[in-house]
Every structure is written in structure tokens, then in C-alpha cells.
């Protein structure tokens, strides 16, 4: 490959940020001419190239994050340097950088406030008020964001300030030489205090130090610095070697506090513990949420004291084939939305002759109204690590990728800490629990793209390509991540493995209905008294769930399954919440979103917001979705104030476009982009 690079050069900061992810350059070919030393004799005879260089392509996305975290945007010089280091054609690097909404290839302020304007939050007004309070001279960019997954505390906003926090800039240099920056043990090393900057890290977030006492966020928030907001980025390969950005999550966000947090994210009030999102926390009989609120999410010992790692021991005792048999017998269906039998997926992956196998955990939870995976990852992160280890063991994978959506800073912090601790204590690594099985987990951050929750788009995103879905067949179990057999599961699906193994498949299968077994998490938000995550056995009715959450008297409609799901009426509350029950009722369970709308909510505006969401999030690959989502939004705009005969022509048009998107789009995004609008017209009688 004869790559062509322009003359633009990275700044020192950008170079440091990239080098902290990729390690120092190995030869003068990897830096722009004249930037460090001249090319020497050795360089003139040898250059890293070809496959060896291109095999690092998957570090493109972490590299882009490093640039964005450090300077707040992706400049020409920074991007060119990153591409040069990875032997990625700069045009392709530019194509990837412009794909994600969290990156900007134009200069922007270091501080970006993302205000959720989706269904549960509807923060458009908040957006304007914050902008007005901050004013143009504040150096803060305010952006409208799709669902931030904080629906139980709406309205939500996320403040991200790029750059090393001022408190860390002195007295020592910002980026110490860190030869371990790419090694698998780097996180643990840094946390162990063996790195030169560990002492400094301790002052701000000592909870990440392994020797620090566990932080019981549920028993006294803020007592331990680790549980307090704001969070600094963690060391590890996804960020640079030290904290390079600050985040503050505000939910519920008010204009004044948000404006203040935007100017000084370090001083933002701390986030409530994850258990606050679980109204049932502490109740008996919960299987998936049992530990949330009881266990210290930063302590491996506490996790073990609450029954952690018994499932993995069972798995090692019965062997991989028996694990798959148990999962198959349990009747577990995927909880990400497609409801595919997990046992069959694992069996198909495990039996592939091609190697290596990969395990991918899809934590790119971006369906508007969904926040269950976030609560699990924040409140009980070790359960996901244990589940992934079991899944890897069963499917013959030795590396698991955890693809986490970019808008979840606290989940990232908790998981990075949990992975590091598990690694340091032998629960991950070359010899898990001394059983001779090697397994490790790599966390990859998404960067703002709903489409990357589609399984094959997620592979492309990890591999350093644009997150566009691939056409199937071939299916991931045959050719998945890096073209190898891959089992990809949602967070909730994976944590169901633990009760299956601890209680046994028959006992698990006895929960729920015959076709939908086990417990299910529901993300209840909107016009209810107690929004949050609810765990109910499959088969409970929609009415029972809403009663638990405190149904409003003037319920107008319920959105089931998120933006890709559909509406049901208040007189349909006896719909059983099972995969088959919702299907029979012409609805879908999707990812478990239950968004209640009362009769004060203007339905046409809600539909318009859903249409805007799909238009924004379409990857643009296939025509039905790329243009169809635009035409759908235009038609909904036209009829936002119209009803009856005035809207009939546009509704006819919507039906034709919708049918084509459903029939002819490549992936689930386009295929479901018309679901909610259709159900609103047909079931709720919108525009009548």
C-alpha cells in the first residue's frame, strides 16, 4: 500500500495522545518527515508495513477517542498522524471519524454538553435555556443528543470536557514515559501503584487503587472518592495513559446546575448510586438485580461474598459442552431485541472449525428508553465479567470484547476497574481460577452511533471501519469479528447465564412461560410515578408492570420496545409481556422499553422525534433507509398539525415508504424505522 499523507502535522498534545494508545513510534516512517529525528540508515533499509501494520487497524477507534478526549476534536494533523501510525489510508480514517456523532472534524470548544432530546427527556427547551445561560463566550458547545440512557432521571445531560484536568498538570509532567501503555496488564499495573503517576492518581480517585478500601456508594455517597462524580477517564488502552478528560452526568438536569457543571465539570454534584434506578432494590426473589444496591460495585470480594463466581465454578466443573446444554435447556432467548436462542448461537459458534473464536458483549445500549444494561454494569459489573468468562469458556473463545456505548462514563469506569481487579486476582488472564483456561476482556468504547448496536455493524466498528452493517449470510457464528466465528450477546442475556448455572436449567425454565423462560428486565420511564428497571418473570402483563411503577390516571399510550417498537393502547394492558404474547398482539418486546405517555403528550411531536432519531442514526448505506427515513420525517412534519382527510395522502405515502423500508433495508434499523409510526396510526388512531 502506497499511502499518501498531506503536510499537516500533529501538535505535541495530539502526538502524545496517540502514542499513549499505540506506544511510541518504531521507526521514522511512522511520523511526518522532520518531526522527530531524520530518517536514519536503518529506516532507509526497513519499514514496518503490509499486514503487520494493517493488523492494528482495530486501534483506529481508540486512537480517535484519544485525540478527541485530549483536544476535544479530531484535527487534520492528529488524524493524519494516527492514520500514519496505523497504515490506514487517511481517506478511510476520515470516513470513520465522520461516522460517529461524538467526534468532530471541525474545531469546537473543549467542553461539550450533550442534552438528551429523546422521548423520556425531551430536553429541547433545556438545551435552549442552557445555551442562553452560557452564552457564546463561554467556550462550551451545547449539542442535542439522542437518548443518554438515563430515562429514570429525565431530563438528562452529559458534560464532557476534553483535556488533562488542570489539577493534574502540575507538578509532574503530564505524560510520563509509560512503556506499559499497550500491555494487557497496564490497567492493573497503573492501579497497583507501580507506575510513576499512581501517586497522583490516588489523590483524585483512590478507589481505583486496588489496595484502597471498597467504596460503598450505596452506604454513603461521596465518602469514598471513587464513587463521587465527576469521573476521570481510566488508564488503559482506550484512553491515554492518564486522565485526559472529565465528565459529569446530570440527571435530572436543571438549566442552572447544568450551566454550572458545563463551566466546571469537576465540581458537578455526584450521581446517585445505580440502585436508585431499581425501585425493587433489596426485594427478595430477584435473580438479575439481586445484588444491585447490596454489593459494592468496586469490590471483587464483596461480589464473591454475595454469591459471585459460583456460576463460573459450576461451569468449570461441568465443562463447556454441558454449559451449552444447560443454556439450551433453559430456553434462554436473546434479550437484545431479536430473541434468538442463546444456546443455539453458542453451539453454532463452538462447533466452528475456524479459529480463534471471539466473544462479543453488545453493551451499545442505544435504543431510546433503554437503560437496563447501564444499571447492571454500574451496579453489578462483576456479574457481567463472570458471565462473559462463562460464555467465552462455552464457545471456545479466549478474548472477549465488551463494546460499551460512548455515553456511559460511569459504566466505563466501573467496568475498567472490575476488569483490572479480576485480572489481578486471576479471574481473568492466562489461567482463570487455575483451571487452565485463558480468557481476557477488552473494553471498546463506542462513539455515538445507534447503528453500532447492530451486531455486524458493531464488528465493523471494533475492527476500525465505519459502523455499517454487513449483509447476512454469512452469519456472525460463522464469520463475525475479524472474519472469525463469534458469539455476540447483549448484557442482559449474558447475566442470565449466572442463575441458569447456579439454579440449573429446569428450575430456570420453570420461571416465565413455556416459550419465554426466565426473568426479564423492563425499562419503565415516562409518565409513571416510579420509573426505573423492573425485574419480572416473563408472563406478567403490561398492566401489572405499570401498576408496580405507578400508572398515571390519564394514560394515553405505551411505547413498547423503544423507537423500533410500537405503541399499545391503555385498554390493551392485559398483553402478556412475553416474546410470543407481544408478537400475537402485534407489538414487540424489543429491548424491554416500556415508555408511558399520558394524554398531555402531543403524539404527533413524539412521532416526529422518533422519525428524526432514525434519520439521524441511519448509517446511509442502503437507499430505503437513507432516503426513506428522510421522506418519513418530511411527511410527519407536514401532518404534525393535521388530521383526517388533510393527513390521508401523507399517511398513504408513509405506508408505502414504510413498507419498503421494512422489506428492502439491509438491517434492522431501516426494517423497524416505521414500526412506531405505523402502530401510532393503526392502534392509537393518530391523525384521526
Amino acid at each position: 500500500m502506497d499511502l499518501h499523507f498531506g503536510d499537516s502535522k500533529p501538535t505535541d498534545e495530539e502526538r502524545e495522545a496517540v502514542d499513549a494508545v499505540l506506544g511510541p513510534p518504531e521507526s521514522a516512517w511512522e511520523v511526518p518527515p522532520g518531526m522527530i529525528a531524520d530518517r536514519g540508515d536503518a529506516d532507509l533499509r526497513w519499514a514496518r508495513g503490509g499486514r503487520a501494520a494493517r493488523e492494528r487497524r482495530d486501534e483506529l477507534l481508540p486512537g480517535l477517542h484519544a485525540l478527541n478526549d485530549r483536544v476535544g476534536w479530531v484535527s487534520e494533523g492528529g488524524l493524519d498522524y494516527l492514520c500514519r501510525r496505523l497504515m490506514v489510508p487517511p481517506a478511510e480514517g476520515y470516513g470513520v471519524a465522520t461516522f460517529y456523532s461524538m467526534f468532530s472534524v471541525r474545531p469546537r470548544p473543549a467542553t461539550v454538553v450533550r442534552v438528551c432530546t429523546d422521548l423520556a427527556c425531551g430536553g429541547a427547551a433545556l438545551c435552549g435555556e442552557v445555551e442562553a445561560r452560557l452564552g457564546p463566550a463561554s467556550g462550551v458547545a451545547v449539542e442535542r443528543s439522542p437518548c443518554l440512557g438515563l430515562c429514570e432521571r429525565a431530563p438528562a445531560a452529559l458534560v464532557v470536557r476534553a483535556g488533562v484536568p488542570a489539577a493534574l498538570l502540575s507538578p509532574t509532567p503530564p505524560l510520563p514515559e509509560n512503556p506499559l501503555a499497550r500491555g494487557p496488564g497496564v490497567t492493573a499495573d497503573l492501579l497497583d501503584g507501580s507506575s510513576s503517576n499512581a501517586g497522583r492518581a490516588e489523590t483524585l480517585s483512590s478507589g481505583r487503587d486496588l489496595s484502597a478500601p471498597p467504596a460503598f456508594e450505596e452506604r454513603g455517597l461521596g465518602r469514598s472518592p471513587s464513587a463521587a462524580e465527576p469521573q476521570m477517564s481510566q488508564p488503559g488502552r482506550d484512553g491515554v495513559g492518564d486522565k485526559t478528560y472529565v465528565t459529569a452526568t446530570l440527571a435530572p438536569a436543571a438549566p442552572d446546575t447544568l450551566a454550572q457543571a458545563a463551566l466546571a465539570p469537576e465540581t458537578a454534584p455526584s450521581e446517585p448510586p445505580a440502585a436508585m434506578a431499581v425501585p425493587q432494590a433489596g426485594e427478595e426473589g430477584l435473580l438479575l438485580l439481586s445484588r444491585i444496591g447490596k454489593v459494592d460495585p468496586t469490590s471483587l470480594d464483596d461480589y464473591r461474598a454475595h454469591g459471585g463466581y459460583t456460576a463460573l465454578r459450576t461451569a468449570f466443573a461441568i465443562g463447556p459442552a454441558a454449559v451449552i446444554r444447560e443454556v439450551t435447556d433453559s430456553g434462554l432467548l436473546g434479550r437484545g431485541g431479536a430473541a434468538f436462542p442463546t444456546g443455539r448461537k453458542w453451539q453454532a459458534t463452538a462447533s466452528q472449525p475456524d479459529h480463534p473464536h471471539y466473544l462479543v458483549c453488545n453493551a451499545d445500549e442505544s435504543e431510546p428508553g433503554t437503560f437496563k444494561d447501564r444499571v447492571i454494569m454500574e451496579g453489578d459489573p462483576y456479574s457481567l465479567i463472570e458471565s462473559m468468562t462463562i460464555a467465552g469458556y462455552a464457545t471456545g473463545a479466549h478474548l472477549g470484547y465488551l463494546y460499551l456505548r460512548g455515553e456511559y462514563p460511569r459504566a466505563l469506569q466501573r467496568l475498567e476497574h472490575a476488569v483490572a481487579q479480576a485480572r489481578a486476582r486471576g479471574f481473568l488472564g492466562d489461567d482463570v481460577l487455575g483451571q487452565g483456561y485463558a480468557f481476557d476482556i477488552e473494553i471498546r468504547r463506542g462513539a455515538g452511533a445507534y447503528i453500532c448496536g447492530e451486531e455486524t455493524a458493531l464488528f465493523n466498528s471494533i475492527e476500525g471501519y465505519r459502523g455499517e452493517p454487513r449483509s447476512k449470510p454469512p452469519f456472525p457464528v460463522e464469520k463475525g469479528l475479524f472474519g472469525k466465528p463469534t458469539a455476540e450477546n447483549n448484557v442482559e442475556t449474558l447475566v442470565n447465564i449466572l442463575p441458569i448455572l447456579t439454579m440449573g436449567a429446569p428450575a430456570y425454565a420453570a420461571i416465565g412461560t413455556a416459550k419465554s423462560t426466565g426473568p426479564k428486565l423492563f425499562c419503565v420511564s415516562g409518565s409513571v410515578e416510579r420509573p426505573g428497571i423492573y425485574e419480572l418473570p416473563f408472563g406478567a402483563t403490561l398492566g401489572e408492570l405499570l401498576t408496580l411503577a405507578g400508572m398515571p390516571d390519564n394514560l394515553r399510550a405505551v411505547l413498547l420496545g423503544g423507537a423500533a417498537g410500537g405503541f399499545v393502547r391503555p385498554d390493551e394492558l392485559d398483553i402478556p409481556l412475553t416474546f410470543e404474547g407481544t408478537r400475537e398482539a402485534g407489538a414487540t418486546l424489543g429491548s424491554g422499553v416500556v415508555l408511558a405517555l399520558d394524554d398531555t403528550v402531543p403524539l404527533p411531536r413524539v412521532l416526529l422525534r422518533i422519525a428524526e432519531f432514525f434519520r439521524d442514526e441511519s448509517c446511509g448505506q442502503c437507499v430505503p433507509c437513507r432516503v426513506g427515513t428522510v421522506r418519513q420525517e418530511e411527511a410527519l412534519h407536514r401532518i404534525v398539525e393535521r388530521t383526517g382527510a388533510d393527513a390521508a395522502a401523507d399517511i398513504g405515502l408513509l405506508r408505502e415508504v414504510g413498507r419498503t423500508m421494512r422489506d428492502a433495508s439491509i438491517c434492522g434499523l431501516g426494517q423497524t424505522a416505521w414500526n412506531a409510526v405505523e402502530s401510532a396510526i393503526d392502534r392509537l388512531g393518530a391523525y384521526k
Binding site: L3, G6, T98, V623, T629, E634, R659
Partner: protein, 286 residues
């Protein structure tokens, strides 16, 4: 005579195509099978020398038992499958996809599309006068070829031809997302600052005329472009020893553009800057 490589014998796959028992070599796509059976399935993003990207979705067919329609260009024939190419469902999807395209992109120079719009009764105007269009100016930043973004349907063929499928130059990529996605060089700059080597293989595969010779672009602007008056002569490029085939398109005794036959077993329609654009000396009669 050109030697035709026969390859290793392939097993035949039996399936039902529009009610007819059909046998095609293993690995054939449904589009191959349709063409072998003499059926006309419209396609835009499919290219005879490229791996199908199946983004345009005009070639969709119905596969019995499948929830959605399948792109004929990339779906392979499987034993026992039942495929219908001309049902109300496929006609509806093709019609709306053609409408979506024609309402957002200038398709005036896309071959065959006018016929398909008529055949499927597509009415692109029904999205109203305010329907979003690309509305972009052509980019003329070099003497050899023009990028007319208003005609681009994002078929990815130029990206694939520039990338690892043929040229390995990687000068262009799809950038942005959704309706705002465009084909661009790095940092969306002019071609002259990019990795482009002006081989013109992207023009060779462009299905809509969004990429065209500057000579063709200028003549169309002047109203002098007339394919009726053009002759095509296939010859051998004289620049080097490879011996690529050139097809010279000549109007009024002037070469107006150069293509290359895709069935050439060595070059498959690919040329370099010299073969593609280095013909001016022929017309220098002074």
C-alpha cells in the same frame, strides 16, 4: 481469440425461480440465475467486476420463508429455495426505491433508469417540491475528471474500485452518515491534494455519470454531447508492455472519452492515467 479460463467444474444447485426448476453452478447469485434465465432484474450498484455491496436495493427478490426481501445481486442460490422475482411485493419495493433515488438525486445520465421508472410506475414527484435533495454543485478541481455529487447514489462502487478490489490507492471513502453521507477524499479536500492517481477506474464503474471525463462534462454543458454520433473502437494501449485494451469513444473525429472492456482477462476494465487520459497527442494536428 481470447482464451476463456474454464476453472474447476462446479456442482449445480437446483432451486425454483418464478415457478421454473432452475439449475445454476454452485456459488451463483440469484442475479446470475435470473440473467441466465433471460429475466431482466434492474440493478444500479452491482458491477460485473466488483463484489456486490447491495446498497441500492432495486434488485430485491422474494425468497420464500424469508421475513424481508433479498438482494438478487449478492444472495447466492441455495438448493431447494423458492425465489419469486416479479411479485407485487418486489415491484412495490423497486418502485419506491426508484422514487426515493430519483427524488433525491439527478438521474438524468443514469442508463436505463428512465425505462425502469416507467416500468414500475414510479412517481418521484409525489414527495412534494420540498423533498430534500442532494443539491450539490459539481466539483471541477482538475483537468481530467469531474465529481458531480448531485448524481451520486452512494453505490460504493468507486470506493471499492479505488480500494482493495482493484486500484489499491484508497483515495476515497464514504464520509459522514445517513443522508449526509458523501464520497470524499481525506478531509473532504480537492482531488489534487489527495492520494488520487487519476487512473479513472472509478469513472469506469460509476453507474450514474456522477464521475465523468472533463471532456464529457464540458460537452454536456455545451450541449454538444451526442452518443448517437459516437463510434467506439477497441485497440491496444501503446504506452507500456502490459497491452491493456482501450475503447476509444470518438465523436466528430475527436476522442471524447476512453473506457476499457471489462471482459479483458488481465485488466478487467482497469487502466492507468496514461491509458485513460493520455490521448490528447492523438488529436494534436498542428
Amino acid at each position: 481469440m481470447t482464451a476463456v479460463p474454464l476453472g474447476i467444474p462446479r456442482r449445480l444447485v437446483e432451486f425454483t425461480l418464478d415457478g421454473q426448476d432452475t439449475r445454476v453452478p454452485e456459488g451463483s447469485t440469484l442475479l446470475d440465475a435470473c440473467r441466465a434465465a433471460g429475466k431482466d432484474v434492474p440493478t444500479l450498484c452491482e458491477g460485473d467486476t466488483l463484489t456486490p455491496k447491495n446498497t441500492c436495493r432495486v434488485c430485491v427478490v422474494e425468497v420464500e420463508g424469508a421475513r424481508t426481501l433479498a438482494p438478487a445481486c449478492s444472495r447466492r442460490a441455495e438448493p431447494g429455495m423458492t425465489v419469486l422475482t416479479d411479485t407485487e411485493r418486489t415491484r412495490h419495493s423497486r418502485k419506491v426505491v426508484l422514487e426515493l433515488l430519483a427524488s433525491s438525486v439527478d438521474m438524468s445520465t443514469t442508463p436505463k433508469v428512465a425505462g425502469w421508472l416507467k416500468e414500475y410506475d414510479a412517481k418521484p414527484d409525489r414527495f412534494g417540491p420540498d423533498a430534500a435533495r442532494l443539491n450539490e454543485e459539481p466539483r471541477v478541481d482538475n483537468d481530467l475528471y469531474v465529481r458531480d455529487y448531485d448524481k451520486c447514489i452512494l453505490c460504493y462502487k468507486c470506493v471499492d474500485a479505488c480500494g482493495d478490489q482493484w486500484q489499491n490507492t484508497f483515495a476515497i471513502s464514504v464520509v459522514g452518515r445517513g443522508f449526509d453521507a458523501r464520497i470524499a477524499v481525506e478531509h473532504d479536500g480537492p482531488l489534487t491534494d489527495s492520494a488520487c492517481v487519476y487512473c479513472g477506474n472509478c469513472i469506469e464503474v460509476c453507474p450514474t455519470g456522477a464521475l465523468s471525463f472533463k471532456s464529457e462534462f464540458d460537452m454536456r454543458a455545451a450541449g454538444t454531447w451526442d452518443e448517437e454520433r459516437q463510434t467506439q473502437t477497441t485497440t491496444v494501449c501503446a504506452y507500456c508492455g502490459v497491452g491493456c485494451n482501450l475503447t476509444l469513444h470518438v465523436q466528430d473525429n475527436d476522442i471524447v472519452k476512453v473506457t476499457s472492456p471489462h471482459d479483458n482477462p488481465v485488466t478487467h476494465g482497469n487502466l492507468c492515467i496514461k491509458g485513460r487520459f493520455g490521448y490528447q497527442h492523438v488529436q494534436n494536428r498542428d
